[in-house]
């Protein structure tokens, strides 16, 4: 096992998507929220494909102990 696992953010690649929504199916209205209440910067969330996520969390799960692996006395 590798001694560390890269962070979600370190695996981010611009433009990758882990999920899609159906296209908006109602008429789009503009200016529903005043400018000063809107966010002005792009959120810095990771951009990952579904398979990236599955592999990342499978890797993390292999670095974790659970009751289905063996007994774990509370407090340990």
């Amino acid at each position: 096992m590798r001694s560390t696992a890269p962070l979600l953010f370190e695996q981010s690649r611009p433009g990758r998507r882990g999920s899609d929504l159906p296209l908006l199916d109602v008429p789009k209205l503009d200016n529903l929220i005043p400018e000063d209440l809107l966010g002005n910067s792009k959120l810095r969330l990771p951009e990952l494909a579904e398979v990236d996520l599955i592999r990342h969390y499978t890797r993390l799960s292999r670095r974790n102990f659970g009751l289905y692996i063996s007994m774990q006395p509370p407090g340990c």
């Binding site: 690649r13 109602v26 910067s41 969330l45 996520l53 799960s61």
Partner: protein, 444 residues
């Protein structure tokens, strides 16, 4: 559909360039030209996971859950299948508190990543590993106000979720706070004049946006006012709305709390949910509950541990920041997977669709005779409608026609016949139109 092919067109182009090609077709050069398909495959346009789910449900004659048009703190959103696939791994759902870091690196790293996501989403420096739910987070933030300012007078908007208010009143009653509830204006937002009049000597103010009635509050004005009186602002948020709205940290808030259920958690009859708590760095040591930090192991490798445990009750006993020493790890994991699956563009799309569909629904309802809007402030995905027809009668009729209508406000406010409606990206146009038709019939 973008998400079914993991690599982006830029990455595919880079791979082609690496092997000295410029177009994908050049990969097929060994296939004789006469044997190649010279047109696009005649397939439907790609469908999203949600559309496929709806299609399969219709094939087996199962419409799934009843179409739902209420939220009031618990929201129906599309949850990508990857969320459940990951949280169903037993190493996550049967793990114990990660006190022993050597055997808990996976869970500790996942919590560390959750905390980073929450900080990015809300615009703050520090996050805890979560508390029970949005209401608990709100009350714990009130305790933080006292430890930061040594004052016990706390202002809160009456636009807070009534259940959050109940928890605040309970905490206040038994831990010596004096709670001042600020009224709403007729537009549906916190009365900023009342805030100004009561701000003197207050530890801070707690305001929720969008508030319980769906209206969007102005955190910036509230922060300026309360800071001028040396108080702090606690911003309670719906995390989905931050796909569009200004982050509370950018608007000047000092602490942010929120109900994390919309981030990939099913309604599940009310729980388990997820209490989000983030704060500015100077308030980090007043945060309740667990915090995971990054460190190095004996070989110099990056590793994760529970940190700043001096705040917690198993170390400080009665002097602890809080009596909560638990967190909602599996729910926090769901939120982290959801946000990572959506990414910045996906979250923005969810928020935009919620906004648009709720406005479409409101416009449709107001076109029905006898229906009136109660508030005129800008709203996100919920709004209050009044009419002469009793909410019980309307909802009974809707239920008969296969819909769950809005939330009758009488549940929380005695005698209030208003109804709080909600629409999210999970409500299809078809559902919205059928609901409006049914409501029109019920209102006759």
């Amino acid at each position: 559909m973008r998400s079914y092919v993991p690599n982006t067109s830029e990455e595919r182009q880079a791979m082609l360039e690496a092997i000295g090609l410029s177009k994908m077709e050049e990969l097929f050069i060994d296939i004789p030209i006469e044997a190649r398909l010279k047109r696009e495959l005649s397939l439907d346009k790609g469908k999203s996971e949600l559309e496929i789910r709806r299609h399969i449900q219709s094939l087996v004659g199962n419409a799934g859950d009843l179409p739902l048009f209420r939220g009031a703190g618990a929201y129906r959103h599309y949850i990508p299948a990857v969320v459940k696939a990951i949280t169903s791994r037993s190493e996550f759902y049967t793990s114990y508190t990660p006190y022993q870091a050597e055997m808990s690196q996976g869970m500790l790293q996942s919590i560390f990543e959750y905390q980073t996501l929450m900080c990015e989403l809300t615009g703050f420096d520090a996050s805890n590993a979560s508390v029970y739910d949005g209401g608990t987070a709100c009350a714990e933030a009130m305790v933080m106000l006292r430890s930061a300012t040594r004052k016990t007078k706390v202002l809160c908007s009456s636009g807070l979720h009534p259940e959050y208010l109940e928890i605040l009143r309970t905490y206040a009653r038994f831990t010596g706070f004096s709670l001042v509830e600020l009224p709403l204006t007729k537009e549906g937002v916190t009365d900023i004049k009342a805030l100004e009049e009561n701000a003197e000597g207050a530890a801070g103010v707690i305001i929720q946006s969008p508030n319980f009635f769906g209206c969007i509050e102005n955190f910036k004005s509230a922060a300026d006012l309360i800071h001028a009186k040396n108080g702090l602002l606690v911003a309670a948020v719906n995390p989905i709305s931050l796909g569009l709205l200004v982050r509370p940290g950018d608007a000047g808030a000092d602490i942010c709390v929120g109900e994390g259920q919309p981030l990939g958690l099913a309604l599940s009859a009310g729980g388990p949910y997820l209490g989000i708590m983030t704060a500015k760095q100077k308030l980090m040591r007043s945060l309740p509950g667990r915090i995971v930090g990054q460190t190095e192991d004996s070989e110099g490798n990056r590793a994760f541990v529970l940190t700043l445990q001096g705040r917690e009750q198993h170390i400080r006993r009665e002097k602890a920041a809080s009596n909560i020493c638990s967190n909602q790890s599996l729910c926090a994991l769901s939120a982290a997977v959801y946000l990572s699956a959506m990414g910045p563009k996906g979250l923005k799309e969810v928020a935009e669709q919620c906004l648009q569909k709720a406005h479409y629904l409101k416009e449709g309802i107001l076109a029905i005779p006898k229906m009136r809007s109660r508030f005129e402030a800008p709203f996100f995905h919920e709004f209050v409608i009044e009419s002469e027809i009793s909410s019980a009668k309307l909802n009974k009729g809707l239920r008969k026609r296969g819909f769950i209508g809005g939330l009758p406000l009488s549940r929380y406010y005695k005698g209030d016949e208003g109804i709080l409606y909600c629409a999210t990206e999970a409500n299809s146009r078809n559902e919205l139109d059928e609901f409006l038709n049914a409501l029109e019939v019920c209102a006759k």
